[in-house]
Every structure is written in structure tokens, then in C-alpha cells.
Symmetry: C2
Subunit: 253 residues, 2 copies
């Protein structure tokens, strides 16, 4: 099953959300990561203009959201429900870490529907709600201030699911293949630059051949790190050549 | 250097944020992951009640935030500035992925200050701003809908930094050590349960010794998966014993 199909089998369930804006933020967070199946348990206000505003381009996720009276109804047909738990509980399933749980969720999604279950902004999930879930996960926030915004928590879990679905390498636009880029320079081209640099350094008096110090090795180290492109070599050599002209401003007279 | 100290050396720079609410959301996202050094370049409105509202418990981060006229001023003293880039650019540093960049940022933080640089909500970073940065990073969102909320983007980057700082295992409250938990049962205790189950199954007529089928292996498989605790064994055996009493409701008569 392809990664996008696996992600489409993972629903997000928000239990008793108080702030419609957070419902919109959750919808947007889901859509950026390829999830779209949103379920709401007893939302305080939904639909709501504030939810639409925060969803921006993900209003379609809100429009397709299903509203339920209680969590068991929202989990109908699900084979694994994972509760987000921010605090210690006496009962409930053991709490795993996000990255490991995302990997497990994807494995389960190959066999059926999976749910991520989030609690109310202020009180979280009730014990009864946690007991409806077969697994629990905790976001490793700083223990002294572990209160993530609901939309932010949905964003992290959906991000880890997308990373897991694509083996940590989701496709992105090919940022490196810009129209501006030219091929990496060959060794000969780079050596041509070094020779040119050295000639200018000598002719200008900046490099004393009797005491060369480490100037050339240092320049080699710099350009080796930068892995210059052919166009960049040409720009640098053009600049060097310009300094060698009798009228060049950079020439030592 | 300990992980929390490394995280404290990473500043978040928001360039020209339009919505004060997003400044508050960014502050909260930072604090949940152990970051606290917030810099703002030409914010439309700051301080602002909306920023305070969305920051909730992270108003201290807002109060300590520094406001600058331009990005170079916000990057003073920084040894590595990493731009968040959501789109293809003709210029600027090569764009890496979040997880790899987080690891690199932590290495750099051991030697000095590091900055994460975020653009305006609508137009992102300008080309000039990107060229002030030595590295760039992209969040691997779904290419067809890659527009993350600013606070959500800050949350993901700070989360990956925290994960990197703690080698993917940040400390969390010990969720497993609940007052409710008891020691894992010994093999003998679990075998005692199986013997008890079998005795009840036989006495009740549910298990026919002439045709035992796979009842006991299936029960063993179930409880092996569950790794019962001592108290749970005791509860189950108490229940079984109750069914064996003459007055037990579960007894076959």
C-alpha cells in the first residue's frame, strides 16, 4: 500500500474541543501531512467561523468532519486507537514515544483503520476515554512546561506519521535543482582557480614567495568545503582577471 | 554540555510576523521544547494582547523577546542561521531536511549561538533574508498543501531539536511506574493462572477433555502477550475461584 493511502486510513479524533479555532488548526495540520479524516466528539461549537478561519486552505477537511456523541461512536471500525496522554495515569495502556508509535500506527494502518485520540484543551482525555484506546503516546515536551496547544500536538503527531510513512524521507520539491545552478566544477577547473588565485596573490605582492605561509592551503580548504560550481569558478576567475588589467581598481600600482 | 543548555543557545527569529497570535503560539511551542530565546524582526504588532493569550504559560518568553529592525540585527552573535523555506528558490543555501538539520544545529550549538529563521505568514522569507542564512530547511509537508501555520512550523522544528538534543529519547514522566502497577508476575504465577483456568473450564463443561481443541494454547497466547502483573493474576484467580463457589453466579448448575 502506498504511503499516502496508509495516511488516509488514520483518523484524528478530537474529544470535546472547547475552542473552534483549534479544530481549524488541527484540520490544517492534518492536511499538510496528508491526513484528512477528522472526527469530533461533542465539540462545544461546530461548525464555526473561527474554525474555518484557522483552517485556511483545509476547510474541505472541516466540511467532511464527522461529529459524534461519544468516543466509542467515533472509534467505530477502528482496529487501533492511540490516545495522546500528557500526564501520568493510574490506568490506561502503557505510554509510548511518538516516533515509535508512529511506526506502529503505519503497520496497523496496512491492516485497517487507526485513530489518534486527543482530549479537551484544559482537562485532556477522561479516564474512560483513555480506556477506550489500546495504546497511548506522549509528546516529549519539557517536563516543567509540557502543555502543547492542541493544534500543535496534532501537527507533531501527523508529521511523525508522514515521516514514518515515507521512511523519514517524504518527497519534497527538488530544492537543489534550481535554474540558477550549474554543474559542479571538475578538479581541473578548481585547480585552474587555485593557480589563478596564486598568480594574483604573487603579482599583487600579497603573497611573498619567500614566506608563503599557509595561504594557498587555507584557500584550498575553503573552496574544497564550498564544492564550487562551474559558473562560480568562472565568476571568480573573471574577477581575478579584472584585477590583472592595467585599469583594474583592485590592482596594486 | 547538557541538552537543556544546548537548546538554550538556539534562538527563534520571526521575520515580519503579521498575526500577534502566531507570536504567542511560537513562544508556547518553544517553551514546551525547552527553547526560550525569541527574536522578532519588525513585527506588525508587539506586544499585543492576542500574543499573550495564545502564549498561555509562556508569557515569560514573550516578555524576554527582543525586537529588531532587520534580520542582520537579529542574527548578531550567531554562528549558524537556518532559514525555514517552504518553496523553491533560485538562490540561497541548499535546503536540507528537518531531522538532519536539527542534528547539525545541536552540534553547532555546542560551539556557539544558532538561529532558526522563519518568514512572514503570507510571503515567507525574502531572498535577502534567506541569503543572510548559511543553511535552509524544509518541512516535508504534502506538496499539494504545504502551508503550515507559523506556530505549527515552530513547534515541529523545536520538537526535532529537542529530540536531537536528547538522542531521540527526551525524559518524560515515568508513565509506567504508576501507583496502580504491581510487579510483573513470575512464570510460576502465570502457570498457576493457566492451571486454574483449565480446571474451571473442565469443571464447567466448557472444555471437553476428549476434544480439548486449542483452547489452552489460545489462552496462553493471549496472556503471554499481555505480560500480566501479579495483582492482575490475583484478580483473575479470585474471579475464577468465585465461579467455583456453590453460590457463584457463573457456575454451571
Amino acid at each position: 500500500m502506498n504511503p499516502e493511502d496508509l495516511l488516509s486510513r488514520i483518523r484524528v479524533v478530537l474529544c470535546r474541543p472547547s475552542h473552534p479555532g483549534n479544530i481549524g488548526a488541527a484540520a490544517r495540520a492534518m492536511k499538510t501531512m496528508g491526513l484528512s479524516d477528522l472526527h469530533l466528539v461533542a465539540p462545544r461549537s461546530f461548525p464555526d467561523a473561527e474554525a474555518d478561519a484557522r483552517a485556511t486552505g483545509a476547510v474541505d477537511v472541516l466540511q467532511a468532519a464527522k461529529v459524534h456523541a461519544d468516543l466509542p461512536a467515533a472509534l467505530a471500525g477502528v482496529r487501533l486507537a492511540i490516545a495522546l496522554s500528557a500526564r501520568r495515569r493510574d490506568l490506561g495502556p502503557p505510554v509510548g514515544d511518538v516516533r515509535a508509535m508512529a511506526a506502529q500506527a503505519l503497520v496497523e494502518a496496512a491492516a485497517g483503520e487507526v485513530a489518534l485520540v486527543f482530549g479537551n484543551e484544559t482537562v485532556g482525555l477522561s479516564n474512560d476515554e483513555v480506556l477506550c484506546c489500546q495504546a497511548a503516546v506522549s509528546i516529549p515536551a519539557k517536563p516543567e512546561f509540557s502543555s502543547l496547544n492542541l493544534g500543535a500536538a496534532v501537527q507533531i503527531l501527523c508529521y511523525e506519521l508522514r515521516m514514518a510513512a515515507f521512511d523519514a524521507a517524504p518527497p519534497t520539491p527538488d530544492f537543489r535543482a534550481t535554474p540558477f545552478a550549474s554543474p559542479t566544477a571538475t578538479v581541473e577547473e578548481v585547480e585552474g582557480l587555485y593557480a589563478h588565485l596564486e598568480a594574483v596573490a604573487l603579482a599583487s605582492g600579497f603573497l611573498n614567495p619567500a614566506q608563503p605561509g599557509r595561504l594557498m592551503p587555507k584557500l584550498r580548504r575553503l573552496f574544497a568545503r564550498a564544492r564550487p560550481e562551474r559558473d562560480e569558478i568562472n565568476i571568480l576567475r573573471g574577477l581575478l582577471a579584472a584585477t590583472q588589467q592595467p585599469t583594474g581598481h583592485g590592482r596594486k600600482r
